[in-house]
Symmetry: D2
Subunit: 260 residues, 4 copies
């Protein structure tokens, strides 16, 4: 457990409870989002994720639904009561998102988008800050400093792996950094097993390992039909896979003196 | 030589001539910039570099002079006739820079700032696009696609090394990528030996090697007093070091059928 | 659980039980080894480790006690009944070790010592094969093929992390490879949290995470006085740290349907 | 130029002359080796390379002709006068090679085969020591220390690139390490553009860059029919490619005050 607690909506990170954040990679339609929100809530997720704006390596890839996705997220929150987290990529999106969602995610490719960090530092919106693909621990903490020294203390760190030569997993996730980051920052640490694994069959093992390593939360991609997803098709869990994983995570959580 | 030529001001990249871009890492004062501009022009540089806005890992580090630096750059251009290149970090800076400088630099940490790329795609300002620290060749070319498919064909690729375990050099620069990128993209390829080396005594060897490998240009940091520089102190060349390197580069250029 | 079971002495790897291998990095004296063997056995370790021959980056570092260490290992086995595993580095050591120890360890730097693998392939001694620091999963499995296709099927794979730019941990251990390797090879998978962590305070988190990820065994360095150890001083657990970790590991093991 | 000169046969490394080592990856037949030896000698190579024992990732790959290859190498030396360099992988090969060839190569995967280094330290045979795929500069120099502190000062360092996430080139070669290694060790530095590039069309650029960066020698794979080679098929130059590259290298050498 971290020294500092940070809340998304009414859900606290950094206490005894390990928080599940779940939802689709991209918001693709109202029905897709709502059906997923209902399932993940029922299974024990406490926060809903879903991207409206997508950073994509290729300009030809699906770029997100944008503002209509934000509307669907708000509907899902109204119906389920789950607070919502969504990614932003640019300073021009700060006002739109900071007033709408309960937490903004700064993705790996934006971890050193310093103007974005400075703009978020002037708000109070909780920030889920993911490590850059080639960022050292020192640089990750310096990026968090842009937020906290700039005035926004509501920072949650999210480990999602780094890029290495290994391609059997999509990214290389070092869970030894969970206790290291917690000690160095005192901040809550969330782990993203979906992006690290890159394929759904590896997600459960990494998720359980993250809980055992001391993570304060997990962010897991869940989709009604992963095989038809517009992004991250290979790594999103379907509903039954998510239903299966939660009690397994809970068992590991209890083994380390915590709970989901 | 690349198939496509791109010009910064009246200086063409991708032809027989290998273009030297030189100047301080950060614009620190009018005098610092002007004195450097005069020297690098005299020695053979064709474009002046200098950052007004600095992406820094730590929020406590010097962040650049901002708009006053842009004024100094314009003065330096007026006096020396050298076109100017300066870095931008955020969509909010596009209008200020695109109308002022002759080329905007997108740094390594912004290579996948897709909103910035989209905004620059709607201008015609030449873009010096540096590779991300963990970007593959494929991703580097996809970032360039955001510009060219979005409408701005004035793209120059800049190799500056990637992050690896090796710390003897600051970044790991693979010059085998010069011919590979040229073949795959047809774009002019500039090499940044200063950031790759990270220490001034290694810059000459890497610069000469880049010319031998087929680079269409070099971007080299030069400062009147590197030991007192506000950023990148260890890697900037002083005036006499720059004076010494240019004829050496020219000799290698001639050996591969080109010229500085 | 892997498809194939491999035994060291009478201890099976790849079944429901997760096996603890523990002991000092280097065998430094009879007393050091015996005192450690007694403690780790009492706490639940099933196999004793201890290096007689040490691969050291510097020629000035302690190189191991050699043959006298092998005698101490045999004494420790006689007294405690624990089978012993020790590292070998060269074909010239195969006969001495294969007849003496219950399992030979091929370290990261020898994973692609193909002559050594060929020599071990002609024996039946169980081999604990560690991944090379820059070996891909494919190369790791090909190294195992040198053993199994050469006639020695008694292969246990050991994950110990790879080298990356991150230095907060000594090596970067991707536990997503545990299920991947198990699926691809069918072999038992042991994880080495000590070398991956590089500092003792990180070992427990990584060890628990490895169990949660599905490891069939752990190899943990334990020393009576780590601060005075002749090698790997920072990462060896002392007796009380080892005593504390075992019930924690057992709890996680039970949570994933297994036991220590 | 390095401070220390080391000779292979009567060919000195570390002086004004940049030495070309050339020949096939593997010795495949007497005719293959002799025809290559004649061509590379005629074009300006001063040392002949050719492997008798091959370290191969897969046990199913061609493992080298072994002793008969050593006979062919001796014949080629007799006929052409070129001293010969060949790789060894294990202590058991030291006597056979040290008495036969003029220089033994320790490959990347054996750079930290410390028993092999200790055995070679007791001979006077010149050693071409390649950097390991994940070795730091410090570890590379420590491996050289095993030789020189052990009594064999005839060490030539060979840079061949490291493993990174980039796959456009086979390995990632940082030529900034040429001056760094020369300064730190004083030893002659040879560069291997063939393995770094991994494809023949990239070899010329890297080879010229290495000369410009200050290399004291190059080791280049040349084969009569690369498309039919039993190893490293993609990266070996054919005769006409080698004939074309030598004058280009000579031109760059002259530009940096040296010669081939």
């Amino acid at each position: 457990m971290g020294e500092k607690k940070v809340s998304i909506g009414n859900v606290a990170f950094g206490g005894k409870e390990i928080v599940l954040i779940a939802g689709p990679c991209s918001v693709e339609s109202e029905e897709q989002l709502l059906s997923t929100a209902r399932v993940v809530k029922k299974e024990g997720a406490r926060v809903l994720r879903g991207s409206a704006f997508k950073p994509r390596s290729s300009p030809d890839a699906f770029q997100g639904l944008g503002k209509s996705a934000l509307e669907f997220l708000q509907k899902a929150r109204s119906e389920t009561g789950l607070p919502i987290v969504s990614e932003l990529m640019d300073t021009s999106q700060v006002n739109a998102l900071a007033g709408t969602v309960d937490c903004v995610q700064v993705g790996a490719r934006a971890m050193q988008n310093f103007e974005l960090l400075k703009a978020l530092a002037k708000t109070n919106v909780p920030v889920l800050l993911k490590n850059g693909l080639s960022a050292t621990v020192k640089e990750f903490l310096q990026a968090a400093d842009y937020l906290s020294k700039g005035g926004n203390k509501n920072v949650i760190l999210c480990l999602r792996g780094i890029r290495t030569f290994e391609t059997e997993t999509r990214f290389t996730l070092d869970l030894g950094l969970v206790p290291a980051l917690k000690k160095l920052s005192g901040l809550p640490i969330v782990v993203d097993p979906s992006h690290a694994a890159g394929k759904r069959e590896t997600v459960p093992a990494l998720a359980k390992a993250a809980v055992a390593a001391g993570a304060d939360g997990l962010i897991i991609e869940v989709h009604p039909e992963p095989e038809n997803a517009l992004s991250d098709s290979a790594q999103q869990l379907n509903f039954s896979e998510f239903q299966k994983i939660v009690p397994e995570l809970n068992a590991v959580a209890k083994a380390v003196g915590r709970k989901i």
